[in-house]
């Protein structure tokens, strides 16, 4: 336990349970368990055991080297002939459906667990909300989009190299993903995340290393005014961080779910531009 932890555990014990929150209020070492912790543990262990078993012992392309199998092994989604039906045939992707189901339950339980703990600590729910954004990405790509197109085969294979191959092929399936405007916005926010993270981390460290010399947030504000005329402030930077990261994920959801459902060719998508009405009268 951390030096100050006992006080907060006592405080958490005094919070009355509500529905599934605050049930099974026990700690195992550092970890809080709780109802959603049990759900996450059961489905997480089930899903990962099946994944490792498939990749290490069943995958037809496996090698004698388990570490190599971890990288190159996969569980493929059901073939197109299955459609969006629930199959129980192991040769037709049952284990893909099984692991995707387990993973979805685990991710959801993990989010609820974060909300449970946030409630016990009497803090806001921003962390489970942020986790919900990335959960929505998994659900969009593996469940919503395949169901919209009527084929589980649209989901990505569960494997390290296999999902890279899938992503590489997906980039060229709708002509070229570099023409997908939501992909472009998503990537901008992705690099923007790294940029904001780098600036924030470096800024706080730059002040913390000089704390003994009396440096405080005024120095940082002045540095940013000098730098580009604006200092967003110590609360504002965390709002910016939160929304940059979340919008990045939500934009990438959009760029996936529109591909194949609404847009078949992201280059042709831009044809509207050259014939847009606002060019009328300029002689094009």
């Amino acid at each position: 336990m951390l030096s100050f932890e006992a006080k907060y555990r006592q405080e958490a014990m005094a919070v009355p349970p509500r529905a599934t929150f605050g049930l099974m209020k026990i700690w195992i070492g550092r970890f809080y368990l709780g109802f959603w912790g049990i759900v996450a543990l059961v489905f997480g262990l089930l899903g990962s055991t099946v994944w490792f078993w498939q990749v290490l012992f069943v995958d037809p392309n496996r090698t004698p080297n388990p570490l190599l199998n971890f990288i190159r092994g996969q569980i493929a989604p059901p073939p197109p002939s299955v459609g969006s039906a629930i199959t129980f045939d192991p040769s037709k992707g049952f284990w893909w459906l099984f692991v995707v189901f387990c993973a979805t339950v685990t991710f959801f339980a993990w989010m609820m667990r974060q909300a449970d703990i946030s409630r016990l600590l009497k803090i806001g729910y921003q962390v489970p909300i942020a986790f919900g954004a990335v959960l929505s990405s998994w659900v969009t790509i593996q469940i919503v989009r395949p169901l919209l197109l009527g084929h589980w085969s649209e989901g990505f294979p569960l494997g390290v190299m296999a999902h890279l191959d899938w992503l590489s092929a997906f980039g060229y399936r709708y002509y070229n993903f570099f023409y997908n405007p939501f992909h472009a916005i998503g990537i901008t926010l992705l690099f923007g995340s790294a940029f904001v993270l780098s600036l924030h981390g470096a800024t706080i460290l730059s002040g913390a290393y000089k704390k003994a010399e009396g440096v405080n947030e005024d120095n940082i504000n002045r540095f940013y005014w000098d730098f580009f005329g604006y200092s967003i402030g110590e609360i504002g930077i965390h709002r910016l961080a939160f929304w940059t990261a979340i919008l990045c994920v939500l934009m990438s959801n959009l760029c996936f779910v529109l591909s194949g459902t609404v847009v078949q060719d992201w280059s042709a998508f831009w044809n509207f531009w050259n014939v847009a009405p606002w060019w009328n009268g300029f002689g094009f």
Binding site: F31, N61, Q114, Q126, A194, F227, Y230, G236, H238
Partner: protein, 297 residues
């Protein structure tokens, strides 16, 4: 002390401050005073030169027609010289504009780094921001300068234009046998997605504990208080590990730097070290579904 002198001059310049009321309740509202200084002037000059050269190059392509400029803006490109001219100076219309614009762009970024270095020191901070920025500068230099010089052709660099950088990214990956198999690219992407995760985690954690004052990070690093305690316990109870108010910013800087440094190594290794990353993947035996496409050893 340079810092003290600077503070005095700061007081005199506060007349140039503006307040943007619309940001009230979201973020700080004060804009300015921005500092120019010698390095700022150099950076501004070379940036304007870069913009001017690019505007001339684009202007020639659209016959200086502003409507055509707007209509074709996303596809207008200053192309680098052809591979035949290697590292030579090229005529303006055949890559010379690109060479001049790139030269001024590199100068801008170097001056900008020096500028934020001097500003950090003048404000009493350790120059961590310019150190972090120089990682991004290294990636930029690797793509636009070092790799082209190493392989002996400016043609390897991206053109200047919106579609041009996307096309370059696409072609560079394909030219070196698919970047998805490049282990440095994998590491860079790991850092990139990891950066977004850490950003969401840190931003979310601080926003969740705002009412306990965890956002006063410099004070919290010196002497952690209730907000930081609750934030730390959240992650300790969720995943069995927690950073401190200090170490989370080391994680942040580390992950963000990894993106640029691993990415730069991945670009530099493409060609001279490994001409085809897919073939590298074949040698590493990680291409089970595509064995037929591998060269026979």
């Amino acid at each position: 002390m340079a810092t003290e002198v600077y503070r005095e001059s700061f007081e005199r310049r506060t007349k140039t401050v503006r307040y943007i009321r619309i940001l009230e309740g979201l973020a700080d509202t004060q804009f300015g005073p921005v500092y120019l200084g010698m390095w700022g002037a150099f950076a501004l000059f070379s940036y304007l030169m870069c913009v001017f050269i690019t505007a001339i190059g684009y202007g020639e392509q659209v016959g200086y027609n502003p409507i055509r400029f707007l209509r074709e803006f996303a596809v207008l490109t200053l192309y680098p010289p052809s591979s035949a001219s290697g590292l030579q100076m090229a005529p303006l219309q055949q890559g010379g504009y690109w060479q001049l614009a790139t030269l001024f762009l590199v100068l801008t970024l170097v001056f900008w780094t020096i500028r934020i270095w001097t500003r950090a020191v003048a404000n009493g901070l350790r120059p961590m921001v310019p150190v972090a920025f120089s990682a991004a500068l290294f990636l930029f230099a690797a793509i636009y300068v070092i790799h082209p010089i190493w392989v002996g052709s400016w043609n390897e660099a991206p053109g200047h234009g919106i579609r041009a950088v996307l096309l370059w990214t696409n072609h560079f990956s394909v030219k070196y046998g698919n970047f998805y198999y490049n282990p440095f690219h994998m590491l860079s992407i790991f850092g990139l997605l990891g950066s977004t995760v850490i950003l969401a985690m840190h931003g979310g954690t601080i926003l969740a504990t705002l009412s306990y004052g965890s956002h006063r990070e410099l004070d919290e690093i010196e002497d952690s208080d209730e907000g930081t305690h609750r934030a730390q316990l959240l992650w300790r109870w969720v995943m069995g590990f927690n950073a401190t108010a200090f170490s989370i910013h080391q994680w942040a800087l580390g992950f963000a730097t990894l993106v640029a440094v691993a990415g730069a190594i991945g670009v530099l290794a493409s060609g001279p070290v490994e001409p085809n990353w897919f073939v590298w993947g074949c040698r590493a035996d990680i291409t089970p579904g595509l064995q037929a496409a591998c060269p026979t050893p």
